[in-house]
Assembly symmetry: D2
Homo-oligomer: 402 residues x 4
Amino acid sequence: MSAAPRRRRVGVAVVGLGGAVATTAAAGVEILRRGTNRMHGLPLAGVSVPGLPQYDELVFGGWDLNGQHLGDAAAEHAVLNDNQRAETAGALSAIRPWPAVASAEFCRRIEGANVRAARGHRAAIEAIVDDITRFKAANDLDSVVVVNLASVERTPEDSPALRSPDAFEHALDADDARIGPAMLYARAAIEAGVPYGNFTPSVAADAPALAELARRRGVPVAGKDGKTGQTLIKTVLAPALRARALHVDGWFSTNILGNRDGRALEDPDSLRSKLDTKGSVLDSILGYHVEDHLVDIRFYRPRGDDKEAWDNIDVTGFLGQRMQIKVNFLCKDSILAAPLVLEIARLLDLARTRGDAGAQEQMSLFFKAPQTANGRAPQHAFPAQQQMLADWLGVPLAPVAE
Amino acid sequence: MSAAPRRRRVGVAVVGLGGAVATTAAAGVEILRRGTNRMHGLPLAGVSVPGLPQYDELVFGGWDLNGQHLGDAAAEHAVLNDNQRAETAGALSAIRPWPAVASAEFCRRIEGANVRAARGHRAAIEAIVDDITRFKAANDLDSVVVVNLASVERTPEDSPALRSPDAFEHALDADDARIGPAMLYARAAIEAGVPYGNFTPSVAADAPALAELARRRGVPVAGKDGKTGQTLIKTVLAPALRARALHVDGWFSTNILGNRDGRALEDPDSLRSKLDTKGSVLDSILGYHVEDHLVDIRFYRPRGDDKEAWDNIDVTGFLGQRMQIKVNFLCKDSILAAPLVLEIARLLDLARTRGDAGAQEQMSLFFKAPQTANGRAPQHAFPAQQQMLADWLGVPLAPVAE
Amino acid sequence: MSAAPRRRRVGVAVVGLGGAVATTAAAGVEILRRGTNRMHGLPLAGVSVPGLPQYDELVFGGWDLNGQHLGDAAAEHAVLNDNQRAETAGALSAIRPWPAVASAEFCRRIEGANVRAARGHRAAIEAIVDDITRFKAANDLDSVVVVNLASVERTPEDSPALRSPDAFEHALDADDARIGPAMLYARAAIEAGVPYGNFTPSVAADAPALAELARRRGVPVAGKDGKTGQTLIKTVLAPALRARALHVDGWFSTNILGNRDGRALEDPDSLRSKLDTKGSVLDSILGYHVEDHLVDIRFYRPRGDDKEAWDNIDVTGFLGQRMQIKVNFLCKDSILAAPLVLEIARLLDLARTRGDAGAQEQMSLFFKAPQTANGRAPQHAFPAQQQMLADWLGVPLAPVAE
Amino acid sequence: MSAAPRRRRVGVAVVGLGGAVATTAAAGVEILRRGTNRMHGLPLAGVSVPGLPQYDELVFGGWDLNGQHLGDAAAEHAVLNDNQRAETAGALSAIRPWPAVASAEFCRRIEGANVRAARGHRAAIEAIVDDITRFKAANDLDSVVVVNLASVERTPEDSPALRSPDAFEHALDADDARIGPAMLYARAAIEAGVPYGNFTPSVAADAPALAELARRRGVPVAGKDGKTGQTLIKTVLAPALRARALHVDGWFSTNILGNRDGRALEDPDSLRSKLDTKGSVLDSILGYHVEDHLVDIRFYRPRGDDKEAWDNIDVTGFLGQRMQIKVNFLCKDSILAAPLVLEIARLLDLARTRGDAGAQEQMSLFFKAPQTANGRAPQHAFPAQQQMLADWLGVPLAPVAE
């Protein structure tokens, strides 16, 4: 009689662990662990590739400015239904975020008391590396990935300090104020040799200095800004409009959302970061500049985590005649985002296993502003992104009519 | 001093030449011929492939139950704007439809006086072949393709007569009532050795007997039912929903349109043919059966040729949570359809040049119910269809962010 | 020290007690009885008029073909949330429907085993009267009203038997098949001297014979077909379009709903009854005939009791120019209907107290096809209906900017 | 044999005569004058009241910073269709705006060369009065009304100077910078004894000082900010939501428009004036504060004068359950506004005839922020506004089901 083989344990250290997305992701893994064949929303659920961790092999930990355990966080976010909350309460309340490195400079609207007192950038990085090391040891983990799910930070002004690894290291020594928390976490992950995924619009491993450092150190990084709702639809529809030669005269997008992310976006600087990642998508897909491409995001509390997007698209067709398409997406932010976080964690761990370093371009499918290598322009069209990932995985994704 | 080389002249013999789509296509070619660089709505406008005719090399002729010339037809359809109508009036009024073969049995709502009196199926086919021959000679054409744009016919009951070339020929001899006008036009095109494209939902060259005959005689055929509005959107969105593992619980589609096509669809039998071609798309793309897939089409006159579709999609995402997507497409039926007719004609002529026979599967991109060869299931997903056509053409289509 | 004065007890005997609307209404009263100041959805919540019963003075009973108690019914309908179901489970499970008079002839899609075996119309009426008498005695009720919430019946063919009280009585004796269950309940209510409200589109107390009989016997009646979602919006918008002289060229309405009502409407005859009450509203308000007024209702299960309506309105404004309004109402059928049932019961009891007999026209506000007296045309415009009720009550309703 | 009686001639002196609304109004009167029975969009078309001028008795003149004649303006605005432009070209090109008083301080985005050089406020008023006098004489007018259709000005900071007639007169003498052009036009109209209607959100005759002065001088004034599209729908729906006790949790309104008005609203100060008049409507009708009432207006060129509004309304109904209503209004700004301008001019002239002075509250129906007398709160509910006007006119408006 032999024991079942020990399963892998892949740690997911989340920046912003107490947020709605991270809590939902952690709860989701717990529900999957308890056995279910309902794999809705998980893009790679049916995909079998050697080295790709299973969903229930993921173990959650991470940092948050809010120190409450995830059971309380889940109750507050109200994303899970009553049954799901009851089912996961035990597991979630055992997860309590570690104190976080933060900067009121970079993200003004969100506050919290669970703060890591670090004297300067170097000390902060060291503390983060320690957290990762401790996380790994305490949970008997085979490997770890870091995923950033924190509230969006304002975009730092461009600076030579962000452009080369050497300059960046000097800026760290000088506690340069242009280096924000997201970059410190990314720098720490690289230091620890663990992959780093960026689900936020904040500048982190996509700063050229850090992208290059990751490549040199053999650490896979991916980002940025998870592609969940409106931008997903945009990158699905726009390639078809191009394929049908329907010229986009204008694309008006508005969003209403009432969760903590929405509140953070009331800060104009944070909103700017967000709009930046949403904005460039369209021109890139269409191959021309759409001057009347407008994107609004408004904090609107009645919906809570339920986000709503309304898009109006004006197109010109044959003989210069005009038509309109309107899309109204009543979605749930965390429900769309959480499964992508699981896939990102799994794929980053696979990339590490395969020895891939630097920007993981094949993960473009999951991001609004895909990080690329070698200065390539990002691929935004959804079908092309899906093909890139399928090629990298070596299996077909969502093959149809086979 | 040398003369400009003679340009090719490719005849497009349209069944239903006086309809809004055909009239718009003919007017469109005339406008392109007068020189314009506005190629909106033409999917292959920028594609250069040897043997593919230019838009302005197309010459229109065809049959219609309504004998009025295309200038009058264009005025009635009110698709062109005033300038466009003025600009094309001369050319269009010179085109007068030939008398058409028709059957009140197969399409009850549309009537007309411009009828070909043919005694039986064989005589009808012969008359159609004669029309094609005369068209070619009279216009000094290098080649001809036939495109069916007539009002939708009811679907014939299944019969052995439609299943093999031999049985079909016997049924022709017997004037079998299950053989409708669309099949007679297809049969005549094959007889004349000219390609046949079917933009309607009617059964024509997709009857197994005719598909096989086309293959044996070396004649390319393609169809059926042009993919213009709602189904286009469906085949664009559904692959993405599958890729994101968002389970489609229901998809409700309704359409309002006020043109002649809408009136024809008031006949329940014709409507059934139409709904059949719209219905199977979704299950095929998603890989499972969507029981609550409903499609309504209503004749609603206020819009005329401006068609409107409203779709509501219920999806289930991560952790079984529900979301909704609504799409409202305010489109112009003929403006979307006419450029596809031009592409179909050009591609069929290219297929003929290349010696391709039988069902031209690579043209799936343009059809709601793509005709395939060798019993293959049709490919409905728009991005995959686009790839098929690009592969066949040997050029990339709408490449992005290169 | 004196005891609190005994409160009134008004019985509400519901035809179709086990349905979603009745169950929600009964649960709602129970929740209000437990003390809450959340009076959402109750139009007359703040209105104080002598003789108008309080919400928590209503006591529910009634008939249903399905004999399960209301606790089970509530669980099945899934309208209440978990808390509300738990809170009312005790009270609801004590209410078990009495066997119902029914006719497969009049409503084909809904079946049930809890059937009253009555030999002929007279016996059925007698049994219903007995039920009412027993209900009153067993619950120590001061008065009773009957409200019809059963599934819609097909519209009977017109017949002299439905036109005068005498002819109707003869038809009852002859067990005339044109007299359906809804009429038997109405006739029994009149017999028992209790008011009758009709929330369904079925013909009942609005048959001229019964309206006249009610008037003669001094019994108030009101109906028919509760105005909840799409028609409510229609009767709110249309008067404003008239006031602005925006001509309605077409009004396309479609509905998707997945509850038992939706299933019943899959029977074309029942659907016809429903569409009849929805159809005449618009012309009446606008003062001209809208030929392109289309109404679709489709059974679509993903939503359950959540109903969705989509309306497209084409209007012509100044200088003949065209505009469009689209309204998308994501509503909950029973949540909109149940409070209206409470108001109807309260107002009918007040009408009885006041001695008003026959059709209670002032209750038009709650119905798609308001029953009127003296052959008057119904008032459909929502603001005018509200004024009628305010005048009758003698208090302002929703006065604004006072 | 007697000559036809001379018809009245009522001058409409428009501030902003070259704008899309004024041009459309002037063209509309010209078209009506040529004889048509198409009275779409004219709310009082069928109303016959002694003293109310006929539409074709109106004569247009006015001021504009852009000196081009109205024929050119109409061509630029592209509101009229080709036929309408041709039909009115002669009449419109004979109307050339007078030089306008303007202030870059008060409206930054709109520029023009057709400026009245007036040295100080008093001189400006005098010049405006002269223009009115000249207009009357030159056109043999029986009376004149002034209507402000200029681009929105920023709201002036509150000041004692705007609160009493005496203070205002002193401020005029001092050329107080808080007095903007709209106030100067209003002051001049009062000086000239002609009624003043304000279709813009700018502060004008609604400044308490001017309202009181108008009352004292016996001059009727009305305003402000024409109620055309989204706010119209809001004041129609909100009373019904209140009547049904559906609690409004949030109301999100967004607008896209591409005409000159839209461009003016790109100035945040002007936008603020506009949002102010749109914002207070809802709370007033509902009787409680809606914290999540958001209104966005975006300049979006693809539509030109075609404006589009999208509203999402979150309501809570019975038992605290949530529902949503979405309204999408594809409207034409000038087509909705122009007929209201005609009605405002006619009613102001009638008020003058009747001797009514000061704020004409009964005209609330036409304004987003109705000007009231005696400090009364404005009535925003559309049905109640309509009743007010009907009472004043002494005739029913849009009576239904008579």
